[in-house]
Amino acid sequence: MALPYTETVLEHFRHPRNVGKIENPDGKAIEGSPACGDMVSVYISVDSKTNTISDIKFESYGCASNIATGSIITELAKGKTLDEAKKIDWKEAAEALGGLPKIKVHCSVLAVEGLRSAIENYEERHGLVKERKPTTVETVRKRLRKVMNPMAGLDLVRTNLVKDVEVKEGAVRVVIDLPSNHQFAPAIKGEITEKIEPLWDVKELKVEFTG
């Protein structure tokens, strides 16, 4: 049978490891959204003495690559220090799965980003962010690259929906080039809020629409 997936991918797809939620996790992240086709939640428990990931769980709304990548990164990350786990990239996950189809990069990269964001979330919440860089327009734009334009399946920045970004003394203003009554406007606003609000020096966020 010539399915485009390796045996390892299919095995993880059929029997994903570490599925579920952790109650009161030390760090958590949600990447993607139903609108962009895939969504992954990652939860971690951290042993604060050793700074290692003592437990990790994930949930996936997605295709086979997404589920399998979510499963493999939990195996790769468990027991590692936060710094080691942060270095796990898509390539390492794909290699551990024996390879993934190129077209599925988009679906599988989410799980890897989920792990990284969960660790960042832990660090932000526990005052472990080493360098507290002030938020700039660039920081905001970088985060907006993780918010999908549901109409295109690509992010807001690449699809030119971000009309303007302003950052002034902790107040962030984002202008999206869509009418405010557009069917995806509330979803996009929600996702932007989720990505920008946790930034340590952001006190106020305004998401505006052009029409």
């Binding site: 399915l3 139903p34 086709g37």
Partner: protein
């Protein structure tokens, strides 16, 4: 593959009926000559007669005359000939405006888009939540320079049947040509060109247990159509190329084998799968109209989970179906049909199409529903969506 596959993707392609193969075989092995005129050698004449016979059967099935039906390589070519042929014939005189529905299959949709690049204007008509076009909107969209309306008889994904009689009457009143893509409805839903004012009809054999690579186009007597596949003078000088005689014979045989009883059997399988899934699996939505629907089609969205995962699990259990999920397609675009009926990405991603054929049984329906219930439960247990505390 050693295990038994239950094939429920009959709108993509069907298993050919042995009786069709039997009818075709002599035209590969014994009667392989070119279909020639009566002034050539005897084998060629015999082949010509067989081809004419096949043409007559197909035309008759549509209520047409043999001279109004040409063979093509399939529905894709038929719809291309219809749209581009009319555009080429009338574009410089009558006008450059066409109307199609938003949920047409790719042959019509992409022919329209190709014409747009050549300077034609196209109106893409909206459909309602069940996939039906609004006749008033159609009337309003027709302009003085409109040359063709192309609206499908039944939808390829959600099975919704349009009122092509009413559409045809509107087009006739306004003096605009009307093409309908009947690839999925041919022989499954009645279509008589004697009763329905339609000028061009696309049909194909691959959906009705006939061979791949053969289709046809009904062209009402007097319809202006430019030839754009150039070469010889075959098919009334409308479509050049050596005739696919075995294909034509197989196509004609395949329509003989479709019976009213078979269509009723398909309908009962369709109704059973829809009723059972909607009743037994929570958070599911039927896509398309409940009754104005192809007898062989069911399309259901399973919320909170993604279609490629469902199809892959089903495949591992021996069931073949298709999905409107972006993850399933090479383009990573979700189904334009589900978006067309107002569905969101989640509804498209979780949509599964079940299409029945001659070789399916009620047992297949019960088996797939049982398997689906387990798969859906499992995938939902992994999914972060649809949970109260999310």
């Amino acid at each position: 593959m050693d295990r038994k596959q239950v094939y429920l993707d009959n709108s993509a392609a069907t298993r050919m009926d042995e009786r069709v193969l039997e009818a075709m075989t002599p035209y590969f092995l014994d009667k392989y000559a070119v279909a020639t005129s009566e002034f050539a050698y005897s084998q060629g004449i015999e082949v010509r007669e067989a081809l004419d016979g096949a043409r007559e059967s197909l035309a008759k099935a549509l209520g047409a005359e043999a001279g109004e039906f040409i063979f093509t390589s399939g529905d894709t070519e038929s719809s291309n000939i219809a749209l581009k042929g009319v555009a080429l014939a009338l574009g410089n005189t009558k006008g450059k405006h066409l109307i199609v529905s938003k949920i047409e299959d790719f042959p019509v949709l992409n022919s329209a888009k190709a014409l747009e690049k050549q300077g034609f204007q196209v109106t893409y008509l909206d459909v309602d939540g069940e996939g039906i076009i609004d006749l008033e909107k159609l009337k309003a969209a027709i302009r003085d320079n409109t040359i063709l309306v192309s609206i499908q008889h039944a939808n390829q994904e959600i099975g919704t049947i349009q009122d092509i009689e009413a559409i045809g009457r509107i087009c006739r009143e306004k003096g605009v040509l009307f093409h309908t893509d009947a690839t999925h409805s041919f022989t499954r839903v009645p279509l008589d060109v004697g009763k329905i004012p339609v000028d061009l009809v696309t049909v194909a054999a691959h959906t009705i247990h006939g061979p791949k690579g053969i289709g046809g186009l009904y062209i009402r007597q007097g319809t202006k159509l430019a030839k754009w596949v150039d070469g010889g003078f075959q098919e009334f000088d409308l479509r050049a190329g050596l005739e696919n005689v075995p294909g034509a014979i197989g196509f004609a045989r395949s329509i003989e084998l479709v019976t009213k009883k078979e269509n009723e059997r398909l309908r009962s399988m369709r109704d059973r799968i829809i009723d059972r899934i909607l009743n037994e699996i929570q958070n599911t939505t039927l896509n398309g109209h409940r009754t104005k629907r192809l007898p062989q089609n069911a399309n259901i969205s399973f919320h909170y989970i993604e279609g490629e995962s469902i199809t892959l699990h089903l495949d591992m259990h021996g069931f073949a179906v298709s999905t409107g999920s972006a993850c399933f397609s090479k383009s990573l675009e979700g189904s334009h049909v589900i978006f067309g009926i107002g569905g969101d990405h989640e509804r498209a991603h979780g949509s599964i199409r079940f299409t029945f054929g001659r070789y399916n049984t009620m047992e297949d329906v019960d088996n797939i529903v049982r398997t689906l219930a387990e798969i859906v439960k499992e995938l939902r247990s992994i999914s972060p969506l649809g949970k109260d505390n999310n």
